[in-house]
């Protein structure tokens, strides 16, 4: 469970360009929730995810994950619980490393990176099997550099990488925004499959109406750093795509 209490994030405090990117947010996300966040550009969605992940620390308020207060923990320590897919496919992978090396790092996300050679035949075969489940034909390209792949391929692999090691929370920041429709579909279906299979708590930020409608069991809308709508499973499933259309309007 993730709990945010009275969380604020102010950028450039005291300057002319001060922004209250996240403004007094109270949010409890239960272990079995797949939360969808919608809201216009600049409403604070990415900042909220960054606060949960620890890539930025809040100006005030507290954040806890599974009852552990993580407010002051840096991102690399929160990675014990959290895996993440970034808005930009380039941010979630290392382009100059091979696919297999990228997977190796993901496979030891919560462990020490020691002086042993972890990329062995057994590991390579495990990774190949997992990549084959995507049906993108990437399983025979594991020695290639990550940077040679398309955004969609990289985003799909990032998703698989999230569950290489134990993981409880999956953060998805507009994972399909930069992708063509077919890759986007593969990525979202894979995300849903992994969330189910591993019983993850998931947060999905999206601008895609259809995705917001199709995925998740709770939806919130943000505006100017605040949560202005919050619908649980029952209300969400009663929504029609047109209602959502008005939200986005």
């Amino acid at each position: 469970m993730i709990e945010l209490r009275q969380v604020n994030k102010v950028f450039n405090r005291g300057k002319a360009n001060q922004v209250n990117a996240v403004n007094g947010v109270d949010l409890r996300i239960a272990g079995n929730e797949f939360l969808v966040i919608v809201g216009s550009n600049g409403s604070g969605k990415t900042t909220l995810l960054n606060l949960v992940a620890g890539s930025i620390l809040p100006s005030s308020g507290t954040i806890s994950i599974n009852s552990t207060d993580v407010t002051k923990l840096p991102e690399y320590q929160r990675s014990e619980w959290i895996a993440r897919v970034f808005q930009n496919p380039l941010s979630g992978t290392a382009p100059d490393l091979s696919i297999i090396d990228n997977f190796r790092l993901a496979a030891i996300r919560t462990q020490a990176k020691g002086l042993n050679i972890g990329v062995n035949t057994k590991f390579k075969n495990t990774v190949k099997e997992k990549i084959a489940t995507l049906g993108m034909g990437l399983e025979n390209k594991t020695e290639q550099l990550m940077g040679t792949l398309s955004g969609g391929q990289r985003q799909a692999l990032t998703l698989l990488m999230s569950v290489m090691d134990t993981c409880q929370v999956l953060l998805l920041d507009e994972p399909t925004a930069a992708l063509d429709p077919r890759s986007a579909d593969i990525v979202m279906k894979t995300a849903e499959r992994l969330v189910d299979e591993f019983g993850l708590t998931a947060i999905l930020v999206t601008h895609n109406l259809k995705d917001a409608f199709t995925y998740g069991n709770r939806i919130i809308q943000m505006a100017e750093g605040k949560i202005i709508k919050d619908l649980a499973q029952k209300e969400k499933s009663a929504l029609k795509q047109n209602d959502l259309f008005d939200w986005f309007g």
């Binding site: 992940a53 890539s55 840096p74 991102e75 690399y76 320590q77 990675s79 014990e80 959290i82 895996a83 993440r84 970034f86 380039l90 941010s91 979630g92 992978t93 290392a94 382009p95 100059d96 490393l97 091979s98 090396d101 990228n102 190796r104 790092l105 993901a106 030891i108 996300r109 919560t110 462990q111 990176k113 020691g114 002086l115 042993n116 050679i117 972890g118 990329v119 020695e143 550099l145």
Partner: protein
Amino acid sequence: MDFYLATLIQGLCFSAIALGIYISMKIFNIPDITTDGSYTLGGVITAKLLMAHQPIYIVLPAVIAAGAAAGALTGIIHTKLKINALLAGILVMYALYSINLSIMGRSNIPLTNVSTLFSLISFAADPNKNTFFVLIGFVAVIALLIGFLLKTDFGIAMRATGNSESMIRALGVNTDRMKIIGLALANALTALSGFLITQFQSYADINMGIGIVITGLGSVIIAEAFVNWFRITSVWLSLALVLFGAIIFQFVIAFSLSIGISPTLLKLVTAVFVLLIVGLPRLSFRNSS
């Protein structure tokens, strides 16, 4: 001494610095000017300890530790005080000048009547040939160690730190710590070049490190040209090319001198040469696109 042999020996001595710059520049994307100071530091400590008749098995770890400390200091200033890496390196390099001078007590120490790494083991009767063989072994061991390191989980995490910081933080790596370790490693290697050159030339000098970072950069840039050309992805091949780059670089300098370019102009010629290898591929790409 034979022109080719002398140049080869120089190249091998500088290959440690080239490996150091490969780590700071190519792996971490940090232009590390500490290099000038840590190279001299390595030379100064070598000269001082050898003249005090300390054995190599004391001198070598001392040189590595001193170089690592200098690099770690730059890393700490850069990551903890959030000071630009270039400036952090310049500050440490500048401070090291005084430290080196204090250690030496004067500006130059000649090595007289001491046994060096090169006289320790005997492969060949001719001392220069012997130096060459010892160096081959020494550099091979270093390159193998670095290559192995880069293949380990730790090494992959290191390579990812310079490549995609956002990713590697999300994968549980303390990037500040990683950069400090990386710069320590790079400067330990640089100090090793100082250690080798001092024994080869039989003296250490306070000014021996001025501009030496260019030697490392030039070597790495030559290696990079081949890496891009042949689209090399293997860590081992890249390391081999860095060593090759260090040797080529020395040959270019030796060749310039041998065709009568005045030593006064040598640094200018070297700078132009480095500029050419960096600049030429870009110019030709622009024309072809």
